[in-house]
């Protein structure tokens, strides 16, 4: 769930922009450098962004009261392309969602980018890298990455809302617990479901298109071997 337009007070909306934009700018600089060196990658990167957009249109079965929700898709993107590029792609996707689907908003874009495009993918990326280094299989690694990226996104969203609307008694903490409680009923099952779906996804992708993950491995190996070659 994104924070809607007009929901956050002006001061908080501005603060989240100030926090999110340097990270998005860093990602943009990285992305521009990459695209200038290899313009042919533009299509691949664009399709990754489109894939995030479309995944958010995928209705997932929910264990709670027959309701449904959608994955964020950023866990997969951060595992494949890294958190910096995911932050830029998420910003573009969130802007489209706000303008075309009235899902999210322009003044709340900074807050949404921070939760969905930065915090979730960053945690997902760290989890993915740690688990792969610890020799976990691709399916359990992807399960943890997708589930945690999703959960962190919603924890951060709850935090943002609690900071903007602290409770009468108990202040930020009480409000944070309230928001977490409301999200938890839907989000914990949803995060597990998203994890399962992306674990099956990764397993199936490994069997039909192993080079998708191989490309990432090669990229990581190149990064590691770069100082040695210097």
């Amino acid at each position: 769930m994104h924070i809607m337009e007009g929901y956050l007070p002006a001061s908080w909306a501005a603060l989240w922009y100030i926090i999110a934009m340097p990270i998005v700018a860093y990602g943009a600089i990285k992305l521009i450098k990459l695209l200038r060196e290899k313009p042919e990658l533009k299509i691949t990167v664009a399709l990754s962004g489109a894939f995030i957009f479309v995944l958010s249109a995928l209705k997932l079965p929910s264990l709670v009261g027959g309701s449904s929700s959608h994955p964020t898709g950023t866990g997969l993107s951060s595992a494949l392309y890294g958190p910096a590029i995911t932050a830029v792609l998420s910003t573009i996707v969130l802007l489209f969602q706000a303008l075309l689907l009235a899902h999210g908003g322009i003044t709340s874009l900074g807050a949404n980018v921070f939760s969905m495009g930065i915090a979730g993918p960053a945690v997902g990326y760290v989890v993915y890298k740690t688990m792969r280094k610890a020799k976990f299989g691709i399916a359990p690694s992807m399960f943890a990455t997708a589930a945690l990226a999703d959960l962190v996104t919603y924890i951060v969203t709850s935090m943002q809302l609690a900071l903007a609307f602290p409770a009468d008694v108990g202040g930020f903490l009480a409000s944070f617990v309230d928001y977490l409680g409301i999200f938890a009923a839907v989000q914990i099952p949803l995060a597990i479901i998203e994890g399962i779906i992306f674990a099956i996804f990764a397993d199936y992708l490994m069997s039909v298109r192993p080079e998708s993950f191989e490309n990432c491995k090669i990229r990581l190996r190149r990064k590691k071997s770069a100082p040695e070659s210097d």
Partner: protein, 264 residues
């Protein structure tokens, strides 16, 4: 399908020839003015402006996709406002009770803030949709270039938009095919089918990339997408109108404080 609908609406808009950057600045100023206001009158005025622009842009015909977007978003806003209603502090207690053994209370401050956020969000939605229904994404990318955002990013915006709807159409086809084969019968099947559709979509997206790359290289693609039909540039009027609107809304906020008192 969705793409054709939204493009049809956008290219038939009566506001199509307005400067995209000018419209965007106006939208930002209206949204910020609404956000800064503590009087309920300002978001109501912004809603009237947004709704008028939306009706004018779509020629008084709200397309089904816009209606669906408004409906879905309104539901989310409503749920969020209920949360604000219960967690916000106030001077006077309006209502107190228990639900499933959990105590709750509604204060005048909570009711006031929830109403303000509700009206502000709905106003914001109409203003954003008036922009979305009158500005094609290539025009938006052109506006990005006007403010010196690197062309790599503005082109990426166009490509993501185009491919998003291409993939959405693929998704729709795959979803229908899976439903026809009882792929969503039972929870286990739902999981498996949803995952396979996600993988199928990913593989299709890679195939589309390969084909698009070859097609573009055949046309001497060097990483640039030139635009030959450029939208109108921003003029001084488009700077003056948003600033004037913002000042008027700011003054309106000061003058109308306390006009509408909720929960008194």
């Amino acid at each position: 399908m969705h793409n054709h609908n939204i493009d049809e609406v956008v290219y038939n808009s009566r506001m199509l020839n307005w400067s995209p950057l000018g419209k965007f600045i106006l939208v930002i100023f209206l949204l910020v003015a609404s956000l800064l206001a503590d009087s309920l009158v300002v978001p109501i005025v912004v809603f009237v402006i947004g709704a008028s622009l939306l009706f004018y842009s779509t020629n008084f015909k709200i397309p089904k996709i816009v209606g669906l977007a408004l409906g879905g978003a309104a539901l989310t806003i409503f749920v969020g406002c209920i949360v604000i209603l219960f967690v916000t502090a106030g001077e006077n207690m309006l209502f107190q009770g228990t639900f499933l053994g959990i105590g709750y209370s509604i204060t005048d401050g909570g009711l006031r803030l929830a109403t303000l956020v509700l009206v502000r969000s709905i106003a914001g939605m109409t203003v954003m949709l008036s922009f979305a229904t009158s500005t094609p994404v290539p025009y938006l990318a052109h506006a990005m270039r006007q403010v010196h955002i690197p062309k790599e990013l503005s082109e990426l915006v166009i490509l993501i938009y185009r491919y998003s709807f291409l993939l959405l159409e693929e998704l729709h086809t795959m979803w229908t095919a899976a439903s026809c084969r009882l792929g969503f019968h039972g929870l286990k099947n739902r999981f498996r089918t949803t995952s396979k559709i996600a993988v199928g979509l990913f593989i299709r997206s890679i195939d589309i990339t390969d084909r698009a790359q070859i097609a573009l290289q055949c046309r001497n693609f060097n990483g640039e997408f030139p635009s030959y039909r450029l939208p109108k540039n921003i003029s001084a009027v488009w700077i003056a109108v948003p600033i004037l609107s913002f000042i008027l809304l700011y003054l309106l906020n000061i003058c109308t404080r306390g006009w509408i008192i909720i929960g008194a």
